[in-house]
């Protein structure tokens, strides 16, 4: 089955939620199982009925792989495992397994307790779901079953984010999840080896962006924050609990320290300490610098950043507040936004991408008024800044990754159609490979010519190598091997004829040639034979020549001397068809001796 089929249930020409179905070699794999933050109805979860309209889903999916803990990549997992009833294997890295349940619980609270939604998974379901997860480590080769192998690579997008290489038989696919090709303040850059997959499924969030340098972005961010607080304004930075938040905290902390600033900085999240604990314990997943210095100094113990209390919202004066969630779609960040938005000295900095339907998305698109469900209308007079701190690969990074792993095809997901189109063209031009960008629900079939493993008999290889090396060196000479193809237990092997006969239990038909040379030599036949042996040993150095009962043998060549003591001897030379070269050579030798 040389085809690979991909059907995005999410992330097909959009950024809302990642859920991609991959079929190859008779295996079905689900890549990520995210939820869409912009919806409050069933559209928020992937359409699982696509996989199987009715009946159990487990038999249709061989495994689920979660790339990282962002909810647009794992948010629907408890729904799938606890409410749809998927019971098969689920894989993610250790940090993802540790952190995902916290974010899921956070979201659940917002959805159920604040919005009063029903038909949502419960806390217990999150716990039960995570219990079913198999945690994997980087580069560990995990055999899901006899044919399906997966392996995680560092993706550098958030703590524990991984790209996955997936192999069935001789076909392989790499799924990147979200990744980042430039190291940042707490994470390293994504890395993959030259694994030459048949298909690379890459995110393309920043397909057309070539981001300005990291330093510039940071300086820009700090300048904006500083200017705002200097004028007595309040800065709101909506973040997710883990990820960018830690990087920005490190950034502000060091800046505050260096500039000796006194404006209060708050991190509005009970989870801060816990979150930072995860970073401490999974420090092996952060970048080199943090790992090297962690014994002396813990990067995540902040001096200037204090916990936030809700009552601070109405405090006068400047302050900087980090609040969750990151897209201003619910929770505390949204509450703060509602209070601060109408004042123009304030500022909101959106450090990450916002999906359609969220308040974040609206204000980034210039909305000056935002209407809420309860008909509350908030005027947006505060400055709205967007800083691309989301650690996604930009166009250059995506091209770099393609260069690293040398895929035979590329498929783009997790991006906007127009931008994908641009990148697709670029990839096809530069790498001369096919690039695909299916929409949600659209199946993309990729034909992959596959190599078939064949075992070659060492005997054949040796014989070939002897033949090849016997010829004068010629770099252009092709090496050619002949054999008989056998199939056993679904495995092919190329054997030589004797091995085949042995394998199938028949004895081979032997063709033997015998010629006679007459030789005038007095004395017993045995003496003559000795003479011949000496001659052969001289001419055939390195061959094993044996003599017994007056019969000389070299490989399959037999030489027999007959005749009375004092008369002409008959020398019979006999050999099998395979040893024609040797046999005729020996015969020639004897003929020359006689003459």
């Amino acid at each position: 089955m040389p085809d690979i089929k991909i059907t995005p249930l999410g992330a097909g020409q959009d950024v809302g939620r990642s859920c991609i179905l991959l079929s190859m070699g008779g295996k079905n794999i689900m890549l990520d199982c995210g939820m869409h933050m912009g919806y409050n109805d069933e559209r928020r979860f992937p359409d699982f009925s696509y996989i199987v309209p009715e009946g159990p889903i487990t038999s249709q999916i061989d495994c689920v792989i979660i790339s990282h803990f962002h909810l647009d990549h794992c948010g629907a997992l408890p729904y799938m495992s606890e409410m749809i009833g998927y019971t098969g294997p689920i894989y993610m890295t250790h940090p993802t397994k540790a952190i995902a349940p916290i974010l899921l619980e956070d979201m659940r609270k917002v959805a159920v307790e604040r919005k009063g939604e029903s038909n949502f998974f419960t806390s217990q379901m999150i716990k039960d779901c995570i219990k079913k997860v198999t945690a994997v480590t980087l580069h560990q080769s995990v055999m899901v079953d006899n044919d399906l192998e997966i392996k995680a690579y560092y993706a550098g997008h958030v703590l524990g984010a991984a790209m996955f290489w997936i192999r069935v038989g001789s076909q392989s696919v790499v799924y990147t999840g979200d990744y980042n090709m430039t190291p940042d303040r707490h994470l390293g850059a994504a890395w993959i080896d030259k694994c030459r997959p048949d298909l690379l499924i890459s995110e393309s969030t920043y397909a057309t962006t070539i981001r300005d340098s990291k330093r510039c972005r940071e300086r820009d961010f700090l300048k904006k924050v500083h200017e705002c607080v200097e004028k007595g304004g309040k800065v709101l930075i909506p973040v997710f609990a883990l990820g960018r938040a830690q990087e920005l905290c490190i950034l502000l902390e060091t800046y505050w320290e260096r500039m000796n600033l006194k404006y209060p900085v708050y991190f509005a999240l009970g989870l801060t300490e816990k979150a930072n604990n995860y970073y401490k314990m999974f420090i092996t997943w952060t970048n080199q610098k943090i790992r090297k210095t962690f014994v002396q100094r813990n990067m995540f113990d902040f001096k200037h950043i204090k916990p936030f209390d809700k009552t601070y919202i109405d405090n006068p004066g400047a302050m900087v507040v980090f609040a969750t969630p990151g897209m201003l779609h619910a929770g505390l960040s949204l509450n703060i936004f509602k209070k601060w938005a109408p004042y123009e000295q304030n500022m909101v900095i959106m450090p990450g991408f916002c999906v359609q339907g969220t308040v974040g998305h609206k204000i980034l698109n210039g909305a000056k008024k935002v209407e809420f469900e309860n008909r509350q209308v908030v005027e947006v007079k505060m400055a709205v800044e967007y800083m691309s701190f989301s650690a996604h690969a930009d166009a250059k990074g995506i091209m770099q990754l393609i260069q690293y792993c040398e895929p035979k095809n590329v498929l783009l997901v997790h991006g906007e159609a127009q931008k994908m189109e641009f990148l697709k063209e670029k990839i096809e031009q530069e790498f001369k490979i096919n690039c695909y960008m299916p929409a949600n629900g659209e199946t993309c079939t990729i034909n992959t010519p596959t190599k078939v493993p064949i075992d070659i008999s060492l005997r054949l290889l040796k014989a070939e190598s002897v033949r090849y090396n016997a010829q004068p060196p010629d770099p252009k000479r092709r090496r050619v091997i002949h054999g008989i193809l056998c199939v056993k237990d679904n495995r092919m092997s190329l054997l030589d004829i004797d091995e085949v006969c042995e394998e199938i239990g028949i004895s081979r038909h032997v063709i033997r040639f015998t010629s006679t040379v007459r030789f005038d030599d007095s004395g017993p036949a045995v003496k003559t034979a000795e003479k011949l042996k000496t001659l052969l040993e001289e001419k055939l150095q390195g061959w094993s020549i044996t003599i017994s009962d007056g019969n000389i043998s070299v490989e399959s060549v037999l030489i027999k001397v007959e005749g009375e003591d004092d008369s002409t001897k008959n020398i019979y030379v006999s050999w099998t068809n395979q040893d024609e070269d040797l046999g005729s050579y020996i015969l020639g030798l004897l003929q020359a001796m006689v003459e």
Binding site: M281, K451, D455, H482, C486, M492, H509, F513, N577
Partner: protein
Amino acid sequence: MKVYCLSSDAAKPCFVISFRGLMIMLDCGLSAQSVLSFLPLPPVPSARLAALPSYSPPHINDPLLEGELKECCGRVFVDSLPEFCPPLEQVVDFAQLDAILISNYTCMMALPFVTEGTGFKGQVYATEPTLQIGRFYLEELSEWLREAGGGAGGGAGGARRWKELLHLLPAPLSQAARPRAWRRLYSAQVLAKALARVRVVGYDERVELFGALEASPVSSGFCLGSANWVLRSPHEKIAYVSGSSTLTTHPRPINQVRAPAHPASSTRYVPHAPRPIKQVRAPRTPPINQVRALRTPPHQPGTCPAHPAPSTRYVTHAHHAPRPINQVRAPRTPPHQPGTCPAHPAPSTRYVPRAPRPINQVRAPAHPAPSTRYVTHAHHAPRPINQVRAPRTPPHQPGTCLHAHHAPSPHQPGTCPAHPAPSTRYVPRAPRPINQVRASTLTTHPRPINQAALRGADLLLLAGLTQTPAHNPDNMLGDLCVHAGVTLRGGGAVLLPVYPSGVLYDLLECLSMHLDTAGLSQIPLYVISPVADASLAYSNILAEWVSTAKQARVYVPEEPFPHAALARAGRLRHAARLHDHSFSEHFRTPCVVFCGHPSLRFGAAVHLLELWAANPAHAVIFTEPDFPYLEALAPFQPLAMKAFHCPIDTSLNYSQCNKLVRELRPRALAVPEQYAPPRGAAGAGGAGAGARACVTADVPVLALRRGGVAAVAARRTLARAAAAPALLPALRPRAPLTAELHVRDNVLTLLPPPAPLQPSAEPDYDLGPPNVDALVRCLAAEGLGAARVEASPAGAVLHLPRHDALLHVERAHTHVFCEPRGRPALRRALRAAARRDPAPL
């Protein structure tokens, strides 16, 4: 395939295998036994060591030998910088090595000797914890040896002459193994260069070695990051098992099922690190004395009518029960003074084999004095021998200060203003009543074992079995806790000479728990090592390498090991050096000090031992299995301080190992000669009474000795190639195939044959006899004329009169008698006949 053995120390192995054209070194162990021949190097000058008398052999006056040897209590030591025994150099050219695979951090100390200055160009592979903790071990070692300039007794540090005069020296020095091959430790720079070569790999990662092999480290359950290596080609498999632990072979304890929530509060030995080698769980046999353990309520010995003579009773049990006796012997009652308890009158002279015995007399280990044997009562803490003899040791306060010149003022804990009352801040998580703790039975790792990755190898190479097969780690840990408790209660300090990682983490956890339950939670724990801070910090970030139970804590998130919490609570302090001001300020006794080096030849342990040796209230407890403790103590004699031997070596013992080998079903087994059955032993497992323990298997066992090489027959008959997509249409089963062979980096690819292919290049596949009619036609076509055909009993005879040729065509063979010049045409005809009407396969 060949296996070279370069180390004589089976616990510090070093092998090289040549396989598929590659030279691969497996482990790189550094044998440190040699350091025992040297005088200790104290971190600060020691007057005692400096004053030891020089030694020279009788009737020898060799000025070159001057100052090289010193004598202490009848033993002769070399006064010089200690030397180590690196792997053998001459057998394998290190420049030819393609790769070095490290199994765990105890087996990589010789790395710089192999990779630096030898022309080594290969790649070194190890897991991340192996690299990091190995670095700690190596850095600690090189730091200590760097600090010490020369020998302790004033020797210059380069003693060499004694090696020439070895035969004249007294034992055991005269038996030193190949001292001329001993080398000084490498410098820190060389060490750093060697470590920089290591490429970090994860469990189950497939590392491709030059296209010829795939190497995978798989969890071995022995320590953090420890791995067995599996080398695989498509048709062969070699498993290298070094330093493995399968603790699940024990019966499953009952209270483990009942109270799994408090695994840490007992002193059972639960190895922290190791992800267990997965293995089938042993059948759940209830421990034999489980009933007894349950029905025995805490009671004062001798006061319970049901147990009138607990002493004999428990001792008897100890002899019969398969279960170790530490849980029986465990102090349900506070230890009491010897001889004062009516229930346990006087120590008898019966010999209980397991009773740990302190040694404070110079005594050759080979000649144990039977008179000093004693029974340890089950309820009693084992007593050191000198206390048995002189039970009324006058009460005293131990020296409480590190610096002898500080003139320490003895004081009770809490009574001294400088050393305020012990902090009570530390609240153990789940302290269980002591008797409940003691009811716990032998523990094992609850997770089932799966050895799948090692199974069915063509060759199983085995090293790193336990060095103390007679000592069960569980029992030893129990003993250790008891000894420590008794010593501390008596006001003494406890010294544990340990490595800076490994079992240390468990000891910290278990001992602190034990002290809590024993009412000794005010006792401070100290860890002194140049790498203490890094080692303790590092252990808590290796979540992905610890056991499931420890891993579960990370998800909370809590540190997998409690020592960070102990440090925050002020209970545990660590320092790089004893004399760091911030540390010595807080130092007080009684206390427990963990420090290196286990050989007692360098490191802080040397100083503490010098300081405490004369005081019988203190105790040194040996847990590391690498050095014979009597040898380690020899230069500190005479010793009044108590010494206990509680080796904790979680590696496989022989019976676990044999079980493992049986389950792994290798085709051949190779082991260091120490493990192999004695020569001449009849058959597998033919061990009579008194035979030494050995590895037995019902497959060929190769015994490897240092400098030796063993050849292992290759079974391989096939090589893996890949057929290019374009060749797929040509792939027909049971049919001849001609293809172009493309070889690059050991990878074989088959492509469609180059066109045009010369017909003669195709070989003959004459599987059956030629069809006679077809043959006649072909002979004619070759211009050989008409053949006369005669039927024969076995087939047919064809006669070509013109060429005087005869062809006997039979079922199994065709025999052609002909003149040499007629043969080419005959062959063509035969081939054509075979082609035209090929015999079916």
